[in-house]
């Protein structure tokens, strides 16, 4: 997708946007395939260094990258 607002540098933003968009689509497809009345509200990916949180909406995606407290 096209990033609208970002606090990171452009290239990273574009990379995150593209990759996470695909992942969100896949996740949403999975959830809805199991039950069409269900829908994806939130996606959280925890890695060693950060935690990536994705909140999908009808037209857009909100992506937050957080450093975990632990």
């Amino acid at each position: 997708g096209i990033p609208i607002r970002t606090t990171l540098d452009n290239s990273t933003t574009v990379q995150y946007a593209g990759l996470l968009h695909q992942l969100t689509m896949k996740a949403r497809s999975t959830v809805r395939d199991i039950d069409p009345q269900n829908d994806l509200t939130f996606l959280r990916i925890r890695s060693k260094k950060h935690e990536i949180m994705v909140a999908p909406d009808k037209d857009y995606l909100l992506i937050v990258i957080q450093n975990p407290c632990e």
């Binding site: 607002r5 497809s29 809805r32 395939d33 069409p36 009345q37 949180m53 909406d57 909100l62 975990p68």
Partner: protein, 630 residues
């Protein structure tokens, strides 16, 4: 010399044969020639041998000596052609030089005659023999005609030269001729038609060709239809989405048909929706667009930040409770605070009946001297950093209550005696409905408000009790608060005489009240004087501590706890203090076994059991009550 002899001999023979006319001619010529050559010959034919002996010299003969005459000249007869050249030089283009040809052709052709004889067995010969056989009848006629002509000519000639020979011949030919003519005259001449001689040289080809019309091509091509590639995956949920859309379309079309009924229905539906379904549409700002997602994100971030607390909330069970009878611990969980409420004290807390994690906190001040603004904040346990809803008011809030059926309606009572209803679904920070001096507000702070069931006209109504001794029922009629004084509390035995003879009743100050669960119109009021009207159930005053747990929760801050509320679902209790902080604590298992003693909360157990327990408590509490209020 021998030639002469030969000719003479011939002549003599021709006489008896009498044949041909030819010999007479050469005979003539010979005789002439003889005459020239031998001029001195005396006799004819007899003098041959005699003439040979005597040499006759012509006058121009070469004169030679006898020796020269005896000389023998050798003559060789060769096959060489005397006329052929002896050396022929030809230019060779290959070698670009003149080259002599070694062999010279010595053949001399004396006489050549092209013959017209065909081999009998060859093709042509056979053909002609066949032709001759088929035309045999004609042939003798023709040939006889020809021969007759020839004979006539011969006859003429013969008569000229030698009559006797010719006549005989003519007679013979004439007889033949007559015979033939007779034959010829009888049959009519056969058909003149002849078979065409078809041979290779006379081959004629006949062909004809039709006229071909010139070909013309005419074509027309239409514009190619615009093609567009489309690819998608048909998932189950996509199909479901399509169905849902279709359904919505149908519903919309139905609505257009019946506008009135549908509108009324929709309003009801909207009322029944919870506050979390508020949709923020027509937002032009980018930030506002993502508000929904941002909200979720904020909660998630908070969950991360307060991760350990969240884990404790869910899963932590204090194992040490086993060793302590009847006493439990309180585990501190989240702390809720807001900048603007730092100076204010928590005056009211209430859990939302529908959303178990939502609670409302009313801020105000208990201090008579310091009266400032009030705030109403609604927090959710999912987001401890920031309140979900913020409402500000001019005077401090003293009490609040959620409506059971409409969890988005909050009734509040103010310090200045007003009451108001806040609608959480609306985005404004002002109350939807507010009482005023005109509409019969209290003259003293309102200490308690409580919702009632909708009256017969389906209007919302609630009660409020205040220090001015009035219990007022407020009804929401046509967007206005209409008040009706229900009871005026009067202190027994304190009727005083007013200055103008009016009986003034000193009104008791009601501080709290509660309604009977089953009987709607039965309620209890507790007053400052410590009296309870109408029943013997003691109402826990708002300024009392919970006696169940001795753990000092906020002792560190040296605050006074002002309010406490149990959560009906989760083993969590929230405590408000004077500083404006709200702390949530988790009850350890021991504490959970205690019955909840808050007004208006639903308890799973039957009311009879509860009554029994309350009786017990009553006995405990009655004594301190009689001492004094704190």
């Amino acid at each position: 010399m021998p030639a002469k002899a030969g000719e003479r001999h011939r002549q003599g023979q021709s006489g008896p044969s009498g044949g041909k006319a030819v010999p007479p001619r050469p005979a003539k010529a010979v005789s002439k020639k003889r005459d020239e050559d031998v001029s001195t010959e005396a006799g004819e034919g007899v003098d041959e041998w005699v003439a040979a002996k005597t040499l006759v010299k012509p006058p121009d003969q070469l004169e030679l000596t006898e020796a020269e005459l005896k000389e023998e000249f050798t003559r060789i007869l060769t096959a060489n052609n005397p006329h052929a050249p002896q050396n022929i030089i030809r230019y060779s283009f290959k070698e670009r030089a003149y080259k002599p040809i070694s062999y010279v052709d010595q053949m001399a052709i004396h006489f050549s005659l092209n013959g017209n004889m065909i081999l009998k067995d060859s093709d042509e010969g056979r053909r002609q023999s066949i032709k001759l056989s088929t035309a045999a009848k004609k042939a003798p006629v023709e040939t006889s005609a020809i021969t007759s002509e020839e004979a006539e000519i011969k006859g003429e000639e013969s008569t000229e030269d030698t009559q006797p020979a010719g006549e005989e011949e003519a007679e013979r030919s004439g007889t033949a001729e007559v015979a033939d003519a007779a034959e010829a005259e009888e049959p009519p001449p056969p058909s003149v038609k002849e078979q065409k001689l078809a041979n290779q040289f006379n081959f004629i080809e006949r062909a004809s060709r039709t006229l071909n019309n010139p070909m013309r091509e005419r074509a027309c091509q239409s514009e190619p239809t615009p093609c567009k590639n489309f690819s998608a995956t048909a998932n189950q949920w996509k199909i479901y989405d399509a169905y849902v859309e279709e359904l919505q379309k149908m519903e919309r079309s139905k609505e257009k048909e019946k506008p009135k009924a549908q509108i009324a229905k929709r309003e009801e539906e909207e009322k029944k929706k919870g506050r979390k379904l508020t949709s923020l549409e027509s937002q032009s700002d980018d930030i506002n667009k993502i508000s929904k997602a941002a909200k979720i994100m904020e909660r998630m971030v908070n969950q991360n930040t307060f991760d350990d607390i969240a884990q404790d909330f869910k899963y932590f069970e204090d194992a040490s409770d086993e060793y302590r009878d009847q006493q439990g611990t309180l585990l501190p969980l989240w702390k809720f605070q807001y900048d603007k409420t730092k100076r204010l004290a928590v005056t009211a807390i209430s859990w939302n009946p529908k959303y178990k994690d939502l609670f409302a906190v009313g801020y105000g001040s208990y201090d008579f001297m310091k009266q400032g603004q009030g705030m109403l904040l609604l927090y959710t346990m999912k987001n401890p950093s920031f309140p979900e809803y913020v409402f500000s008011s001019e005077s401090g809030i003293m009490c609040l209550d959620f409506h059971n059926d409409h969890p988005y309606l909050v009734a509040v009572g103010f310090y200045d005696g007003n009451v108001a209803i806040y609608n959480l679904k609306k985005a404004t920070s002002q109350p939807s409905y507010k009482s005023s001096a005109k509409s019969g507000k209290h003259t003293e702070p309102v200490w308690q408000v409580k919702w009632q069931k909708d009256d017969m006209d389906n209007n919302l109504n609630f009660f409020s009790v205040s220090s001015d001794g009035r219990i007022v029922s407020w009804t929401l009629v046509k967007n206005e608060l209409v008040h009706t004084d229900v009871i005026k509390l009067s202190v027994e035995g304190t009727t005083m005489q007013g200055p103008e003879g009016l009986q003034l009743q000193t009104l008791g100050c009601g501080t709290s009240f509660d309604f009977h669960k089953k009987i709607d119109y039965l309620f209890l009021v507790g007053t400052e004087e410590g009296k309870i009207y109408k029943a013997h159930v003691f109402d826990l005053s708002i300024n009392k501590y919970e006696a169940l747990c001795t753990q000092l929760v906020v002792a560190k801050k040296k605050n006074k706890i002002t309010h406490i509320q149990f959560n009906p679902v989760y083993p969590v209790v929230i405590i408000g203090d004077e500083r404006g902080h709200v702390t949530s604590l988790k009850l350890s298992p021991n504490l959970r076994r205690m019955p909840k003693e808050k007004k208006g909360q639903e308890v799973k157990r039957g009311p009879e059991v509860e009554i029994a327990k309350l009786e017990k408590l009553l006995n405990l509490v009655r004594e301190p009550e009689s001492k004094a209020e704190k």
